[in-house]
Every structure is written in structure tokens, then in C-alpha cells.
Symmetry: C2
DNA sequence: CTGTTAGCGCATTCAG
DNA sequence: CTGAATGCGCTAACAG
């Protein structure tokens, strides 16, 4: 005898009421006599009944499923972001349906693409699609909109104007400027910025603002771009930038993510024997949890996870017909041990 | 005009066929004339139709939703585990529905409990529940079984015999022994094991086996237990165990997770000024990605993520009436820089 | 307040 | 191979 899920009809039979009564007993604000509801609940309890949310969504206009698309879920900052977001959703009675964009390591497997991911989520009739990774082509945003599904883009390039997507962005430019000013104040003269080959504009914007601010101070920045957003990228950058002799004598590095910055900093310290921050100053971006660990103490531009999560939640909960919103998340600098003390007053 | 999802009826109308034909066109192996199917697919394409998986599950006996229950998703190893698992599920056409057990930080919020989490997943009619965190009381396992849902327990205490749950376990005891032997071979005589106050038996088993193996060599082990599984716990342990004077002169520490071990190691190195591995050797457990970073180089007991994921997938895909299985994952020691070289031959 | 009826979107009988 | 009919589990509009 196969065990089955109990249905409302089973409960109705046992409680001696109609199926509608059962349904109402489980619908907040429905008009049911207290005693009927009690009888129903008792029967449900005894039978082990619980509402089938999948069937329920056939009637409501929106499901309580929120699709989250992410890659790189092992990344220290992304995982923290995902953790916070899924917890927040749950507290609001929404459920997280994940699409992982991580490439399948098996031979012959095709690379997962964003289009298919969105497709998948639409098949589940999610109420919203949240993008943590990748860039959303306008066409995908329109596809979602055509199905009444809003997209929320977190630190992703904004789609064409008028497209139905909420965007939540940390102040990448402000953060880049902050980093540049701080390194300059520390007396660094030979700056470098390390970034991954990602196609998303957030990291580019961080780097660009950094360079622009340095230029204002009359400094040119060595731009090092290669590979994915990973620790290894930072390692490779440090090896290449600070290699033997280091003719340019780079003395300040801005990594566009903490992972990259940590890779660069640690390689400088432990492999190349350069003192941080005495010989080299390093700044990251994100303030991932590990950056505060005692072995790292990375000075970094913090994007508040709480603010980011709150803004995301707000966007998700906003009424379906609300206008598209653009929320900026302020950033600030967390001073730890990877940058030399400022000399004199900070530049404007 | 509200945008709506396109239904099979819409497609049928446009293609000039019945709804059933549409359904069949999207059902692999159904009997449809090639030209009808083509007409249907064309109409579907034009209209932007996609099957509603939620409605589809009303008919099938099992959904393609797999519920994953986890806390601590920011944790380096757990997040890697979750990442790998969700990617693997997806490659099999299954989708990940997450329940995050992370405590809600808002004041007055109630702590999320496992019972409610399982309840939630049953409401979504998941095909399987995978437990990455917490311990499953027998009663919950039975609850799932009563609804035809299998549970898969990863590094969790096994439920009562006969309960319908597959368990996947790394060889905790073997790992603990490995760690003890290696530290002893390095010449450590004053050992300590650091563990969190988790109620799950996996970490306890690691610690117990470590102690037992040390006892075989005539050594007693200082057992330090406190707080959650986190970096901070390792930090606190190091401060307490290695405090001024360190009368016992602890020279070998086994952290039951990499996070704890890293906290202890880094605190010893950078805060207490103890040389690792010359003065103190440290071993962790998990082989989380960060443990290999150049600033850490933590020697650790590795539980293969690939093997773990493969075993989990196998359990999930096994037929509903298959017997309960228990899969053990082998572990091995990854030698990096946190343990002094072995003196002489390794003990048996 | 209640039961009856009619869908929600889909898959699967059953005749033809 | 096809369409009509039925049911999956639930909610909502309708009379009573």
C-alpha cells in the first residue's frame, strides 16, 4: 500500500462537512463557524492533512515561489547574500526556488545558460525572478514581463529603459572612489586595479570610478584583467603585477571583490614576501564575512547585506503594477589592517 | 491589460487542435502525428507557451521538486556542498526548493524549527527532503514516510532502524583517527580537540575517534566545547587553550571543522604569536575551498564533495520502494602546511 | 454560515 | 492517431 498525501476530500469525509468547508478552514479570513473549523482542524490533524500549495496556486494569480538565479554559490559573498535573501523571503511566507548556473563538470555537458534558467522558473510560475549572477539581456526581461513576472536585478546592469525590472545596486562608483582616495591618502603612488573578466557592469564600474578618481589626483592606474571572479585570479594578478623587480613598484592594489583582493594580498604576503600594509596596501569590495577574519583583516568597501536584502525584499513585495524602481545601496569603507595609515588629511 | 501566462487551451485554439493534442505534444513518448506536433509547437512558440509544472504535478505521483533544508548557508563548506548538490539535481531535471533554517534576526521573530521546515516542504509535495543541517527526530522521518517522501540525511545522525531515510555519511571515525595519528607522528604530545555545541553526531564522532586513537598511544586529549560551528569558536578556543603560560603547552589541535580549525590556527599565529607548525600543529576536517588558500594552507581531513554529491543523487533517484540505504564516504588526509613533518614512520 | 457548482491547467482514460 | 470526457486538489462564486 503506497502512502499517499491526504486530500481535502479525505478530511471533509471524516469531519462530515463539504470540501469547501475544509478549504475555508484553512483560508485566513474566510467565513466559517468556529466549531466547524475546529472539527475540520481536528480531522486534518488526525489524518495528517496539509494544504497542497501547488494546487492552490492554480487559483491565485501569483504563486509564493521566488526564483533565484545564481552561479558561484560557493563564493563567500554570494553565499552570504543568498543565505540572507532566502531567510528573508521565508520570513515573508515566500519560498526560494533555485536555479544554479554553475557549469556541469561532467564531460559533454552543456553550459547552463540564463535563458534556459528563466524558462525553467517560468514553468514553475514563480512570482518573481531574482538575478544574483550574469547579465540579463533585455529580451529575457521582456519575456518575464510578458508573463507577468517581475525581475529583480542585484548589482546587475540595468536593462533598457522601460523594461519591467527592479534594480538594486550598491554604489559601485562611490565605492571605487572611496578606495582610490584611501590608497592615495596612504601615500600610494603606483596603483593597480584587479578585475575579473565578468561581463557585468558592477565590477567594471567599481574599477572605472577607481581609475577616474586616481586620475583626478594625477595618477594613472595599472589595470589587470583576467579570469573569473575568484581567489585564484587575485593570486595570478599579484604574481604578475609584483613579479621580480616589479619595475613599476606597485604599492596599492584595489581588488574589485574581496575574493580577488584576498588572493592578491595573501600572495604578496606569503609568497612574495611583501609586507602589507607597509610595502603594499590592498583594498577589496564587498566585506564578505571572511575578510574580517584575523588572518586577513582586509580593508574593504562594504555593501551592507542588510540594506541589500531589505531593498530586494521590498522590490519583491511591491504590487505587481508598481512602477519599476531603482534602489541604490550606500557603501562605506571598513578600515582594517591592509592599508597603511593615512598621511595627513584625506583628499576631498 | 494584465499579462497572463499562456495556457494549453490558447495554444490549442491557435493550432486548431484539441487541448489533449497540445498536452501530448509536450509529453515525451505520447502518440501524436509529427505534423500535428509541429503545428502545436509552432503555435506554442508564437504564443510563448510553456507547460505549467505546478499543474502537471497534480497528475504525476511525484513532483520534480527536491526540498533542501539547511542552516549556515554562509559557511564555506556547507555552501560548497549546497552549490554542488543543487547543480547536480538540476542536471537531472530536478529543482531545488530551499528551506533556510537560519534564525531570523528581527526582534520578536521565532526561531525556525525543523518541524515547520519539513511541514513547509510537504506542502509543496516535494519528492525528497534532503537534510544538510540539524538532526532529524524519528518522528519527522516517519511523517515524511507517511506521505511517501523519502528523507536523505547527510552527515546527520541516523534515525531509528527501519525508518525510511537514506543516510550518507563521511567516515567521521576514520577521519578522527587519521588526524590523531598524524599529529602524533608529528611529535605532538599535548593534544586538544575543539568542537562546537552542535547536537549532530558527526562532529562528535570525529572528536571521539580522535580521542580514542590518542588514548591508544597513551595520550589524553583536552576537549574544548563551546558555541556554534564557526570561525569565532576556533578563535575563542585558541585564546582559552593557549592562554598565557599555557601550562599544558598544547602542541596539537584538531578542529572538527575547517572553520573552527582556521580560527584556532590564525589566532595562534597572528594574535598569540605561536609558530604553526613549529610550535603548534593544527588539523581540520572538511577540506573547504578556503582551506587551500595560500594564507591558510590548512592540513585537513577531506570528505570528497564529488563522492558525497554522487551518493546523495543516487539516493534521491532511487525508486520510491527501494530499501533504505546507508552510504559511507571515504576520507583522506590532505597534507598542507599546518602540521609539523612526521618524525619517523607513522604509527599504525 | 454552508453545500453545490464551476473552474484553475494539465494528463489520461475512452471511444472513435 | 485524435477529440471528448474525466479527474488531479484546491478555491471562489453562487444560492440557500
Amino acid at each position: 500500500m503506497e502512502p499517499r498525501f491526504v486530500t481535502a476530500a479525505d478530511v471533509a469525509r471524516r469531519a462530515g462537512v463539504s470540501r469547501s468547508a475544509v478549504s475555508r478552514a484553512f483560508t485566513p479570513g474566510a467565513s466559517v463557524a468556529p466549531e466547524t473549523r475546529a472539527r475540520v482542524l481536528e480531522a486534518a490533524e488526525a489524518l495528517g492533512y496539509r494544504v497542497n500549495r501547488l494546487a492552490r496556486t492554480l487559483h491565485r494569480d501569483r504563486s509564493d515561489l521566488v526564483g533565484i538565479i545564481g552561479a558561484n554559490l560557493g563564493n563567500p559573498y554570494i553565499s552570504a547574500q543568498f543565505d540572507a535573501l532566502s531567510a528573508a523571503l521565508q520570513a515573508e511566507g515566500l519560498q526560494t526556488l533555485l536555479v544554479n548556473l554553475r557549469p556541469d563538470p561532467r564531460p559533454g555537458a552543456e553550459a547552463p545558460d540564463l535563458g534556459r534558467a528563466v524558462e525553467r522558473l517560468l514553468e514553475y510560475r514563480v512570482r518573481t525572478v531574482v538575478l544574483l549572477s550574469g547579465a540579463a539581456p533585455d529580451e529575457l526581461v521582456r519575456l518575464c514581463a510578458a508573463n507577468g513576472v517581475r525581475m529583480v536585478l542585484i548589482n546587475r546592469p540595468a536593462p533598457a529603459a522601460g523594461a519591467l525590472a527592479d534594480v538594486i545596486d550598491s554604489d559601485a562608483a562611490g565605492g571605487g572612489r572611496l578606495a582610490a582616495r584611501r590608497l592615495i591618502a596612504a601615500g600610494c603612488r603606483q596603483l593597480a586595479v584587479v578585475l575579473s573578466e565578468s561581463r557585468t557592469s558592477a565590477k567594471l564600474a567599481r574599477a572605472d570610478a577607481f581609475c577616474a578618481e586616481a586620475a583626478r589626483a594625477g595618477l594613472t592606474v595599472r589595470r589587470w584583467t583576467q579570469g573569473p571572479n575568484s581567489y585564484e585570479t587575485g593570486v595570478a594578478a599579484a604574481r604578475s603585477l609584483l613579479a621580480e623587480g616589479d619595475p613599476a613598484r606597485i604599492d596599492g592594489i584595489f581588488g574589485v571583490t574581496d575574493e580577488i583582493a584576498l588572493g592578491a594580498m595573501n600572495t604578496a604576503r606569503h609568497e612574495l614576501g611583501l609586507a602589507v600594509p607597509e610595502r603594499l596596501s590592498v583594498i577589496g569590495f564587498d566585506d564578505a564575512p571572511i575578510s574580517g577574519w584575523s588572518s586577513h583583516r582586509l580593508t574593504t568597501v562594504r555593501q551592507s547585506l542588510r540594506a541589500l536584502t531589505a531593498a530586494t525584499l521590498e522590490a519583491i513585495l511591491s504590487p505587481a503594477d508598481a512602477a519599476v524602481s531603482h534602489r541604490a545601496i550606500a557603501v562605506d569603507l571598513v578600515e582594517r589592517g591592509s592599508v597603511a595609515p593615512a598621511r595627513g588629511p584625506a583628499p576631498t
